[in-house]
Subunit: 434 residues, 2 copies
């Protein structure tokens, strides 16, 4: 960690190369899985009109916004999430792409929260959404994608669980228990806080609806058979994919946001020691709301942040080892060392030729002792050192891990390092121990 | 273009999948070239304390900032550029990485400008910097990297030129013409505007320094031999790399920012019909300024935005064709079509097996006519359609471009699509015309 004087703002992060490599590992896992599922990447602007978020939530804005007036007097907001931009864009572009749209995005989001474990003021979110498909096939495809993102990171069914719920079940429950329609939102909010509130608080809140906490505990613990046909369809779909063990029906999941309309889900670590790793669900009415009923596009989606998943990876040794291996800094494949300062032009020509063939190459930018150059090559994680000296065009090619070396010409070097075998194993007979 | 109701804020952009694929093409070219040069990626926060930008420019802030108070009353700014964050981070992290640091970044920047061709309020910048190396080798390495970024995009020496200048030449010129040291900055500002100001305005400004415009014209047109030893070194270095034809000494380049200290350069399209494509130079004192003299780190760097280069690519047919080919949307390799609704579980199992092997797979999420499914496979750019029907486990594998098809088992399909040859050419003898 750097000197306190050089820190970023509270809740914001610096990604020096090591941290950036870990971030990029996560991003590339997300992108790889999304590509396998046929999702196309999109990106929205970082700043949106505040009104867009007002439309989305139906009037009550989150309190933790980075909201300000721009120089032109516009009320604008740093995006706290990506679904509002997605809805706006999907309404605008839906005619140009075959439906259903399978779209994903990876981008920064901003919330003015008290920084704590897994909560930052700027964080990355991976969002995947399917728009234009109302059937359960889309819900299952999306949950399967979320599970495969976890597996791609080296996490297994023992490390996490997908808790699936269905708002339709709760809406029916509310109706059957005489809760007036206009109070349904309040009731869902109580269920949403069910696990986090103290039993007393929960009991008190439920009493207002003429319900008891024990009633709710019982309903969640033993949900009626076939209470959610949609869940059953998704379960059958995921079973055919071999993913049944990763999911369970858990009606205590409601998701706080008001725009969800059907199946919702959250992913947690098995020990439930962390916040939700991902969450999402159906929002069939949102695009209509954002487009003032111009576009009707049923949709389902989820978001996975980068902060909580990083904590889970650090808790799972196999996943952590996989990340550490993938994010190991290796600044170059070949480090060209200069033994004779008069040969710098030849070194530069050689470096360019190798780079033109796609080989990652580094070399000292100013004069340095040969030993220091070779030490630097090792520190940087180079695989080979190539010594350019007075014997040019004869070059010494050293494999740093084994310390074996051999003489090669520039042409041989180009062939060896840029050939199909980008990591040539040198014939033992031709090598000498250095 | 979507309906006006669904537009982002003025000067901000939506990247629907096609636009995002073009953006990603640019990003991957930048990343590929940076990796070949041994540069490591970093990322800073999107929001910084406004004070950081004040420190960097020495008191006069740019007027076009997205600057606001956060909920905690902090004076913060959406980053207008990346060098200030880099300087702050380099000061903090420089002990943890071998020097010189070769670091690059790709990120959003924000300026409240009048939106026009090549100017946006949110845009991407590719930044590459070398810190901890004062010699000309670093300047040359950086200019070579910038040139190779252009070449990676399919642009050639005929399409662009790197105009290199040296502030040291102008500082000496000012001293020799009796311009007092405290006026040197003002004098450089006049030279910086030399090409853009009308001859009359320029003449008037120069008169204040006791100089005439024709004097300056002559000096720039025929710079004294060896006026810049640093340029000569860089020229020799780039000549050894085969890049001499891409650069020229052009003393009219000064770069507006006050923190540059030595060699500076800009890349323009040959016709000079666009704004600068990239620009940068030495800023040996900046890290010291930002760290209040705690860290002395000579540095050189450049930035390349995404907007101007996109215009140049569109002007150069070969570069545009290369981008179009690379950014062509292909949502999946294999589209699984369902001919018999009863076989959906088998289709799901097969889709999962293929995806687990890394194959990109899509399929209909709800019931659809077979013909519509196959049309969708073609529209999405799938290479193969696989028909899962009542004959299962017999599958029909169709190559969409040739319309040839053959019968395969699930095991054969997995082998064919996930083997080392990810794009198998099917033996002609086994295929039938459909």
């Amino acid at each position: 960690m750097p000197d306190a004087r050089f820190q970023p703002l509270t809740g914001f992060r610096d990604f020096a190369p090591q941290e950036c490599a870990e971030r990029n590992y996560l991003f590339s896992c997300w992108r790889r899985v999304a590509a396998r599922y046929g999702f196309a990447e999109w990106e929205g602007p970082t700043v949106e009109a505040t009104e867009l978020y007002l439309k989305k939530t139906g009037g009550e804005l989150p309190t933790q916004l980075f909201r300000f007036q721009d120089q032109g007097g516009r009320d604008v907001t740093l995006r706290p999430e990506l679904t509002a931009s997605l809805g706006r864009m999907a309404a605008g572009y839906q005619r140009e792409y075959p439906k259903p749209l399978k779209w994903f995005e990876i981008g920064s989001c901003f919330r003015y929260e008290k920084p704590q474990k897994g909560r930052l003021r700027e964080f990355y979110q991976f969002n995947a959404d399917i728009l234009g498909e109302k059937g359960s096939g889309a819900d299952a495809e999306l949950i399967s994608l979320a599970i495969d993102c976890m597996r791609e990171l080296g996490l297994t069914a023992g490390d996490f669980v997908v808790r699936i719920s269905d708002r339709a079940v709760w809406l029916r429950y509310a109706a059957e228990h005489g809760i007036p329609e206009e109070k349904t939102g309040d009731f869902l909010a109580v269920v949403d806080k069910f696990e986090r509130d103290s039993p007393e608080t929960c009991q008190e809140k439920l009493a207002a609806f003429g319900l008891s906490r024990s009633e709710l505990v019982e309903f969640i613990a033993h949900p009626p058979v076939d209470c959610s046909p949609r869940f059953n369809e998704v379960q059958a779909d995921l079973a055919a994919r071999g993913l049944a063990e990763c999911i369970r029906l858990d009606l205590s999941v409601v998701r706080g946001l008001t725009y969800y309309t059907g199946l919702v889900f959250e992913i947690f670590d098995t020990a439930h020691s962390l916040r939700a790793i991902a969450g999402g669900g159906r929002y069939d009415a949102l695009v209509g709301t954002l487009s003032e009923d111009a576009v009707n596009l049923p949709a389902t989606g989820f978001a996975m942040g980068d902060a909580v998943i990083a904590h889970l990876i650090r808790q799972c040794p196999a996943a952590e080892a996989q990340m550490n291996a993938a994010a190991r800094l290796r600044s170059c494949e070949a480090f060209l060392a200069l033994a004779d300062p008069a040969r710098r032009p030849e070194l530069l020509t050689l470096a360019s030729a190798l780079r033109n063939k796609g080989v990652s190459v580094d070399f000292p930018l100013s004069a340095a002792k040969l030993n220091n150059q070779l030490r630097r090559a090792e520190r940087q994680g180079a695989r080979y050192a190539v010594i350019v000296g007075s014997e040019y065009p004869a070059l010494e090619l050293k494999t740093l891990a084994t310390r074996q070396s051999r003489q090669v010409t520039p042409e041989e070097l180009l062939f060896l390092l840029s050939g199909k075998a980008a990591r040539p194993s040198l014939p033992e007979s031709e090598t000498t121990q250095s």
